[in-house]
């Protein structure tokens, strides 16, 4: 005899997700602290180095992520209304935008590499210390963000699968909601990274 009990708690699931997102923000928070300390130490070098980054690609990627956030929100509202087909479609579209973001990022990084700007490169070693730190932070922070994009895509992939198999339904959509929340955080972090690296300097 097994008396297992299935327990579903919408508010509990949301609370758990919010707590988790909090930890994600704090994870990046440590890096933002480093950024601000080094910025106050090397304001001029950060300014110089910042000019190297391509504002156009950065802006494009910001738009891509904002749109993707909108798409995932649409996916949620479609499943709430019981439109499974559209929910699947917009989850797919969110993933497509995520992929686009990564492709852009790839070309951006590749261009930097071809200019000899990468950690421990001889070119960076010749530049002032502050610029080395700037690019180091740039790679670490956008890199960690990139990893989160990949994780987000994977999670959304599972959501498509769950939608298809009716694990996520009009009555029980908290999984998709939580995935959406995660995706919003990925977007939000970028909203902070973008001005710090591309704009203010």
């Amino acid at each position: 005899m097994s008396n297992t009990h299935v327990h579903k708690d919408y508010h509990g699931a949301k609370l758990g997700m919010w707590l988790f997102l909090f930890t994600e923000v704090l994870l990046f928070g440590g890096l933002f602290v480093l950024y601000s300390v080094f910025l106050s130490k090397y304001p001029l070098e950060f300014h110089e180095a910042g000019k190297e980054l391509d504002v156009v690609i950065g802006t494009l990627n910001t738009v891509v992520l904002l749109v993707s956030s909108y798409f995932v929100a649409l996916a949620i509202s479609f499943i709430q209304r019981g439109d499974k087909k559209k929910a699947v479609l917009f989850t797919w579209l969110t993933m497509a935008m995520a992929l686009m973001f990564l492709v852009n990022k790839f070309f951006e990084w590749k261009a930097k590499f071809s200019h000899g700007i990468y950690p421990t490169s001889p070119h960076l070693a010749d530049l002032p210390h502050g610029e080395n730190i700037f690019f180091g932070l740039y790679y670490i922070m956008t890199g960690l963000h990139g990893i989160h994009v990949v994780i987000g895509m994977t999670v959304l992939g599972f959501m498509v699968n769950f939608l298809r198999r009716d694990i996520i339904t009009q009555e029980d959509f908290v999984k998709l909601e939580n995935a959406g929340l995660y995706w919003h955080i990925v977007d939000l972090v970028w909203i902070f990274l973008f001005p710090l690296f591309y704009l203010v300097l």
Partner: protein, 541 residues
């Protein structure tokens, strides 16, 4: 009452799935089974850590080389620290005992996210295996100390990469446990169990959960940066490349000081549950104790830089952090005074859990008071990085968390195994442990004050006496540990059967059968009583 004829099968017999044998444990989502799996691993790794500690002590019994090379010594104390902190003490009470007890104290069937709970355990297992793996692979066991201080940790050729990944994974596991407990406490309380009726052990886990969630991500990013620095060599912490090693220390201690409270708060919770049960008296100042847990969690997050008084900070910063450090002593003192006030004029029954809890209060007080010496910038400069510090944190962590864990084992194991150990032997074991403990660590205060630096392989002859006494103490302590563990083991295998409430305590876990059935409760929990009012509560041995 102990012989329920129509009893439900216990959680040992009913796994809640069709799986049999070991798989019914490794894939379980039952909080009690997960709690026991944590417990076995924690205790196993504790024994490994103790053996390493004994090796350290043996090496230090006399000046010069005794049993190992200097490099081996560095690896041994690093591993001792990493194992004891990240694998033993941090998960010990929250993950092991907390998983066992917390849901039942709330009148719940399980934690809020049972599968996440299992996932945390698997992460814990992975982290532990990786940490052990780092010993035998790559360029040899890490030799940085458990703090992984830069710049050395960036450049040493030993296996630091694997070790920091292990710490990262262990941290993730800790975060998920904290998140799970917070949600459980918010969402799963039985009807009628209001916030002021939650047992203090659960309250302490609530405060701990918040520290786990808020502080551990910082550790995550910090050790990740060590990894990144070692692989990419950006130089964020390397002055040669424009970086700053002090930033590492800040990030590290922003987590690791609060982590001290992840270690100690749950032990305080254990003691807060044990003292009233054996004083047969409601706890003095329930709200003050619950609130002081939150206060410790909050204030404890603001004092990290007292580890850096000698690292080169501005005088203002030193002053502020010194002051804040003193402030954290207040909520701790509130708890100690409340425990003592509870015992005052109680009809005290001396049983092993109480004995260990009293040991906790004494040892923790010694550790806490010497902490004030370290918190005052002036005296800290004298004893920084000496054996005074080693002694201080062993009194707090081992005397505090360690004895808190032992108290918890003696208090709750009869509940989960349904059998009682030999109480007389348990008291004897305590006596030996207590003597061994003080003999091991008291001399270290003295030689620390005299200037013996920590993490040194060799020393001047003037410190010989202290080291010698300490090493002999470590053997006595080890004997005490062996007696205690053997006694507990024999108890849970062959001990006398106990009923639901062998101690006559009033929290909800004593209303369920021992051992409990899969979903904990065989009848609706009665939440009408207060957790510490013993009127009408029968002892059911």
């Amino acid at each position: 009452m102990s012989n329920d004829a129509t009893a439900l099968p216990s959680f040992f017999e009913d796994s809640g799935s069709d799986r049999k044998g070991i798989l019914s444990w490794l894939l379980t989502t039952d909080h009690k089974r997960i709690g026991l799996m944590y417990l076995y691993m924690v205790l196993g790794m504790f024994i490994v850590g103790v053996c390493l500690g004994l090796l350290i002590r043996l090496e230090l019994i006399a000046p010069g080389k005794d049993i190992m090379e200097a490099q081996t010594y560095n690896a041994v104390f690093t591993l001792h620290g990493v194992i004891m902190i990240f694998i033993v003490v941090i998960p010990s009470i929250p993950a092991a005992i907390g998983n066992l007890v917390l849901p039942i104290q709330l009148g719940a069937e399980d934690v809020a996210f049972p599968r996440l709970n299992l996932f945390s355990w698997w992460l814990y297992l992975t982290g532990t295996v990786l940490a052990l793996f780092s010993l035998f692979t790559g360029g040899g066991a890490p030799d940085t100390g458990w703090t992984f201080y830069v710049p050395f940790s960036e450049f040493t050729t030993t296996n630091v990469n694997v070790a920091v990944l292990a710490v990262f994974i262990l941290g993730f596991s800790s975060i998920l446990t904290g998140l799970n407990f917070i949600t459980t406490i918010h969402r799963m309380r039985a009807p009628g169990l209001t916030w002021t009726k939650i047992p203090l052990f659960t309250w302490s886990l609530y405060a701990t959960g918040w520290i786990q969630v808020l502080a551990t991500p910082i550790l995550g990013i910090t050790v990740l940066l060590i990894f990144v620095e070692r692989v990419l060599g950006v130089g964020l912490f390397d002055p040669n490349k424009g970086g700053d090693p002090l930033l590492y220390q800040h990030l590290f201690w922003i987590y690791s000081h609060p982590a001290v409270y992840i270690m100690i708060l749950p032990a305080m919770g254990v003691v807060s549950d044990i003292i009233p049960a054996f004083a047969r008296k409601s706890i003095f100042g329930y709200k003050a104790i619950a609130f002081s847990s939150l206060m410790i969690a909050f204030a404890g997050s603001l004092v990290w830089a007292h580890h850096m008084f000698t690292s080169g900070m501005s005088d203002t910063a030193v002053l502020i952090f010194s002051l804040l450090t003193f402030i954290v002593a207040i909520p701790s003192a509130i708890k100690v005074f409340n425990w003592v006030a509870t015992l005052y004029k109680g009809s005290i029954i001396v049983e092993p859990p109480l004995v260990y809890a009293l040991g906790f209060i004494f040892l923790f007080s010694v550790g806490g008071l010497t902490g004030l010496v370290l918190g005052s910038a002036g005296t800290d400069i004298h004893v920084h990085d000496t054996y005074f510090v080693v002694s201080h944190f062993h009194y707090v962590i081992f005397g505090g968390t360690g004895f808190g864990l032992f108290a918890a084992l003696h208090f709750w194991l009869p509940k989960f195994y349904g059998r009682m150990y030999n109480k007389k032997t348990a008291n004897w074991a305590f006596g030996i442990l207590f003597i061994g403990f003080n003999m091991l660590y008291l001399p270290l205060f003295v030689i620390g004050l005299q200037g013996m630096p920590r993490r040194y392989y060799d020393y001047l002859p003037q410190y010989q006496t202290g080291h010698f006494i300490s090493t002999v103490g470590s053997w006595i302590l080890a004997v005490g540990l062996v007696i205690m563990f053997v006694n507990l083991y024999r108890g849970i295998r062959h001990g006398k059967k106990v009923g639901r409430n062998p101690w006559g305590a009033a929290t909800l876990e004593w209303q369920v059968p021992s051992p409990p059935p899969l979903l904990n409760f065989d009848k609706e929990p009665d939440t009408s009583g207060k957790p510490y009012s013993y009127k009408g509560v029968e002892r059911d041995e």
